[in-house]
């Protein structure tokens, strides 16, 4: 055991059992998984991404690149790539190492390490070009995915709950170290709402490694906790800082049986960033071996968790804080083998204290190599040569079981930079610091450089390291100094390009420990300064965020709102099969026992053609257009003429965009001189209202007209078929049937309910659409079903509706049209009001391109063999083997009424090609010969619907 007998913030009265790779261990409340593993002497915790090198615990915080484990909390709760350094230990925790086979100690894929000479920078780009066209995705990618990778994605659905909260605060403080707590106390004193968040389970930051500060820390946190205007959020990471002080936080709640995480979206009057600084690792050969640790992390393990991560400790320092760590470990009982100071001279006071403590200090030294397989056993100390590289010919072996790296400090300016704050290079502190801010933000503490002292500049830290073997810069992505030097040698100059080519800093740790080192290596290779090379962009999220936090409650039925029509429940009871149309769920067909879709649709279609069908058309978009200038407004918008449309009459309206292409269609009825009932397609309702509102508000503000969406106000029941009137008439009151021709509308009562009755047909049969208040629709539907029983009334769904309208050659916007179809293309020129000087899109129709004779025009298509159904979307070609598409199939159905398949399509110069044969391509067989015919297959004169 390496647990100290006393000290630290753990609760020794509360032991917790956990397992790692199937072996049982014990830790204490207050431990992280990392501190508990170290307390049990476990240093080897993972294998690296590319070379499968043994890796240990580098840090004590979120910057951890190596100690990534899988946490298994049961089915659907298996989480990969969790940093062991941020997981609070709980009773029964199950953790596993990743990326190894068959075991962590014996990993066969470690042979990758032997091949590292060819797995260097740009390896993917250079290697997997052959053989053959599909070599990459058929051969190499599956292989690499097996060999390299991080963890296993969970397979079962996540059973936990996640929540989302929006809130406001006068002050949001990010980071609860000494600077953040001071800022929160100050802000709380001024009386506003204050939020203080910190990514760790325990607040205090660097104070947690300073036992003398603990009483004051406890008092300060108690003061804050007692203030009702202060919200303390531990285990909460501010990961994204957007415009206007909009900050996203993710909080791990892990309430028993309750909420797992909460996503906070905070709009703050002022943001205080107290995000601290991260210690820099040092690049030297073998700097990734388990037991090589950031110096301050080791100090935290000793002081905060009462763990001694090594008994015989060596330290490589480039900054004074390395001495503090070594002294702390010595105080905790470790032997300090040697302190190697990379600087030519170490400060006198530290040298004096080291001497007093009996610690040997070797100034001007580096490390030529380390020893040990699964944990460090020693190192080769060597004086640094003129270029900064250790002189291996003068190396001295030193035994150790823990090696501290103190490379100096990098302020965490991620969030400040995300908020588009400018950074400046501070040559004295050798760091990028916050400069001009664009938001109401204040940076305090180490992230602003406060309290930091200079150490060895990072360029000197990296000097000569490009010649070292396996000196890792990015440990998570296995990027070495040599890889970066190679990228520069191959001509990459921009740091953004070097980053992408080598993948330095692109792992899930986002380069927290590697970006500055990578930058320094590039600077050294190019002979430029760090600020001349520049910095890569900081992007959200600061740390990995679970998908659950983003999804929140928006899962399953709540993922996307479902709109259901008034007769949805009835259709469900009837066993209807539904299809999504936009957000609507519409009944597609009503299968009876033993029927498949084709059988049901055939039966429904024939019922409409031979008797009467009943259909829920409530999803149609509806807009009430009112006002003295209503007719004039429609006249300016739609292609049709409206001013002379009689009251009680309907017209099929066509709406274009200003570019001349069809946007939407629908029947418009004139209810009164100043009132129109406009219908739109189901999917186009919002689009049409938006466009009409745009013209009403911004182009024609002088018109006295108002638009109201009434889509959900009206339930619409369509009755279609030769017996439709027989069913309907006995239920209608207040209607003069002798003055109610095709395309008429009247206000009357149907089954005792006030209705707008339209005589319209989308099937080609005698047809009516009964509009009643949505709440009354089920009752009226039942009344019609009852009245229609004797006439063989048959409910039909959207599939039959599609077949029926296609037999009649009626287009569906979005199916026959695709945003490039003009009225003439669709054969609808007859709708255009000839005398109208203008309407939306009219000017575009006279452009030469819109009048070409070879535009694709709507045609009917019938298979020559009378049986083969072409695919919707199939290309139309003139002859077998042709590579030139002359159009495509827009709709295709088996028509029971006609006894053969029919299709609609858009075909170049189509109307001039009636009688010709074209071919529809097929994904499964030879092209299908089709005869080009007129698009109206049934009753072209319209006798049936006028019946």
């Amino acid at each position: 055991m390496t647990r100290l007998v006393s000290g630290g913030r753990i609760d020794r009265t509360r032991p917790l059992r956990f397992s790692f790779d199937g072996r049982g261990y014990t830790g204490f409340a207050g431990d992280t998984l990392a501190s508990a593993l170290l307390a049990n002497g476990v240093h080897l915790v993972g294998r690296s991404f590319k070379y499968h090198r043994p890796r240990g615990i580098l840090s004590a915080g979120v910057e951890e690149p190596n100690a990534l484990v899988e946490i298994d909390r049961g089915a659907g709760r298996r989480e990969p790539n969790v940093r062991a350094t941020v997981v609070p230990l709980v009773e029964g925790l199950v953790a596993r190492s990743q990326n190894r086979w068959p075991s962590l100690r014996f990993d066969l894929a470690a042979v990758n390490g032997l091949a590292s000479a060819i797995l260097g920078a740009g390896f993917y780009y250079k290697t997997f070009l052959g053989p053959g066209r599909d070599a990459w995705h058929k051969r190499w990618e599956p292989l690499i995915r097996r060999m390299a990778g991080l963890g296993r994605a969970p397979e079962a659905p996540d059973p936990d709950r996640y929540a989302n909260r929006y809130t406001h605060a006068e002050v949001l403080v990010v980071g609860a170290g000494p600077a953040g707590i001071a800022a929160a106390l100050q802000a709380a004193a001024s009386g506003g709402r204050v939020m203080l968040c910190d990514e760790q389970a325990e607040m205090g930051g660097s104070l947690l490694a300073e036992p003398v500060a603990w009483p004051q820390l406890a008092a300060d946190l108690a003061t804050l906790r007692a203030n009702p205007r202060v919200t303390l959020l531990p285990r909460t990471t501010a990961f994204s800082y957007g415009l206007q002080n909009f900050v996203a936080l993710t909080q791990v709640v892990e309430a028993a049986g309750g909420l797992r995480e909460r996503l906070w979206q905070v709009r703050a009057g002022r943001v205080v960033l107290a995000t601290g600084a991260l210690e820099r690792p040092i690049p030297f050969s073998g700097n990734d071996r388990p037991g090589v640790m950031l110096a301050d992390a080791a100090r935290h393990y000793a002081r905060r968790w009462g763990v001694l991560p090594g008994r015989n400790v060596a330290a490589l320092v480039a900054h004074d804080t390395g001495y503090a760590a070594a002294f702390a470990l010595q105080d905790a009982g470790a032997a300090i083998a040697t302190v190697l100071d990379m600087r030519a001279t170490a400060p006198d006071d530290l040298l004096a204290e080291a001497a007093q403590r009996g610690i040997r200090v070797l100034p001007g030294h580096g490390i030529a190599a380390t020893r040990g397989r699964q944990r460090i056993t020693g190192l080769l100390a060597a004086p640094r040569g003129a270029d900064g590289a250790p002189d291996a010919t003068r190396a001295t072996p030193i035994a150790c079981d823990l090696l501290l790296m103190a490379g100096g400090w990098t302020p965490s300016v991620h969030l400040f930079s995300q908020a588009r704050g400018q950074l400046r290079w501070d040559a004295g502190l050798d760091a990028f610091l916050p400069d001009a801010a664009r938001e109401a933000v204040t940076c305090v503490g180490a992230c602003a450089g406060e309290g930091l002292t200079p150490g060895l500049p990072v360029t000197q830290l990296a000097a000569g390291s490009a010649r070292a073997r396996k000196a890792f810069v990015d440990q998570q992505n296995d990027v070495t100094t040599r890889d970066i030097a190679l990228a520069v040698q191959e001509g990459f100059r921009s740091i953004e390009h070097v980053k992408r080519y080598t993948t330095n800093g692109m792992a899930t740790d986002q380069g927290k420990t590697s970006n500055m080192l990578g930058l320094a290596v590039v600077a050294g290779e190019l002979g430029r300064s760090v600020p001349e090379v520049g910095l890569t962009t900081f992007r959200a999220p600061y740390t990995p965020i679970s998908f659950g936090a983003f999804a929140g409650r928006h899962r399953g039925l709540l993922f996307d709102p479902i709109r259901s029509a008034p007769l949805h429940e009835w259709a469900t009871q009837q066993g209807a099969v539904f299809e999504p149309v936009g957000q609507w769920q519409r009944a597609r067909y009503f299968p009876q026992a033993g029927e498949d879709m084709h059988a049901a649709v055939t039966r429904e279609c024939l019922a409409v053609r031979n008797a009467v069908g009943i259909f829920d058309a409530s999803t149609l978009g509806k807009i009430e257009v009112t006002g003295p200038d209503a007719a004039l407004f429609l006249e300016r918008c739609y292609v049709n003429a409206w001013q002379k449309l009689g009251i009680g009459r309907c017209r099929y309206g066509l709406l274009l965009r200003e570019d001349g292409f069809i946007l939407d269609d629908g029947v418009v009825g004139r209810i009164a001189a100043d009132r129109f009932h406009v219908t739109t397609t189901t999917g186009g309702a919002a689009r049409v209202l938006h466009m009409l509102e745009d013209y009403r508000q911004t182009e024609f503000p002088e018109l006295r007209v108002w638009l109201t969406s009434t889509t959900e106000h009206w339930g619409v029941i369509a009755l279609q078929g030769p017996r439709a009137r027989d069913v309907l008439a006995p239920l209608v009151e207040g209607l003069d049937w002798t003055a109610f021709p095709h395309m008429a509308v009247a206000e009357c009562r149907v089954a005792g309910v006030a209705a707008r009755l339209f005589r319209v047909s989308f099937s080609g049969e005698l047809g009516f659409e009964v509009n009643i208040p949505a709440s009354q629709a089920p009752a009226v539907w039942q009344a019609l079903l009852h009245a229609g029983a004797a006439h063989g009334i048959t409910p039909y769904g959207t599939e039959a509706m599609h077949v029926l309208r296609a037999e009649k050659g009626f287009i569906i916007v979005g199916q026959e049209t695709d945003g490039t179809v003009t009225p003439d293309d669709a054969g609808l020129t007859w709708l255009i009001g000839k005398a109208k000087p203008d309407f939306i899109g009219k000017r575009s129709l006279s452009r030469p391109e819109m009048q070409r004779a070879d535009r694709r025009q709507l045609v009917g298509l019938v298979p020559r063999d009378g049986t083969t159904l072409p695919d919707e979307g199939a290309q139309l070609i003139a002859s077998a083997g042709s590579r030139v598409a002359e159009g495509h199939v827009t709709s295709a159905y088996r028509s029971a009424a006609l006894g053969h398949p029919i299709a609609l399509g858009l075909l170049a110069s189509g109307r001039a090609r009636l009688g010709e044969t074209v071919l529809a391509t097929s994904l499964t067989g030879p092209p299908i010969p089709l005869e080009v015919v007129a698009p109206v297959f049934l009753d072209p004169k319209g006798d049936r619907l006028r019946g």
Partner: protein, 93 residues
């Protein structure tokens, strides 16, 4: 997420709004008299520059009104928003 000032409702979250393109492009009163080139200019050509732009927004999940705003395309700062038909304010220096 931006905070956007609706001239009718005040400051609201961006997700209540829909962006509607460049502002102050009046539809020609008599398009038939325009040449194809002139019509194309109105129909298809838009400015795309770095700096202050006048653009249209609609408070689509609020009052439903279209309005105009002055926004900087580099910083996403709004300098002003104003009702349709009002003269545009001068952008900040």
């Amino acid at each position: 997420m931006l905070l956007i000032h609706c001239p009718w409702c005040g400051e609201r979250a961006e997700l209540e709004f829909r962006h509607c393109g460049e502002a102050h492009l009046a539809r020609p009163t008599n398009p038939a008299t325009l040449t194809d080139a002139e019509w194309a200019e109105y129909l298809a050509f838009r400015d795309n520059h770095r700096g202050w732009v006048r653009e249209r927004w609609r408070h689509v999940h609020g009052c439903g009104r279209f309005f105009n705003a002055l926004r900087h395309t580099l910083t996403d700062r709004f300098a002003a928003s104003y009702k349709t038909g009002e003269a545009w304010p001068e952008p900040p220096a």
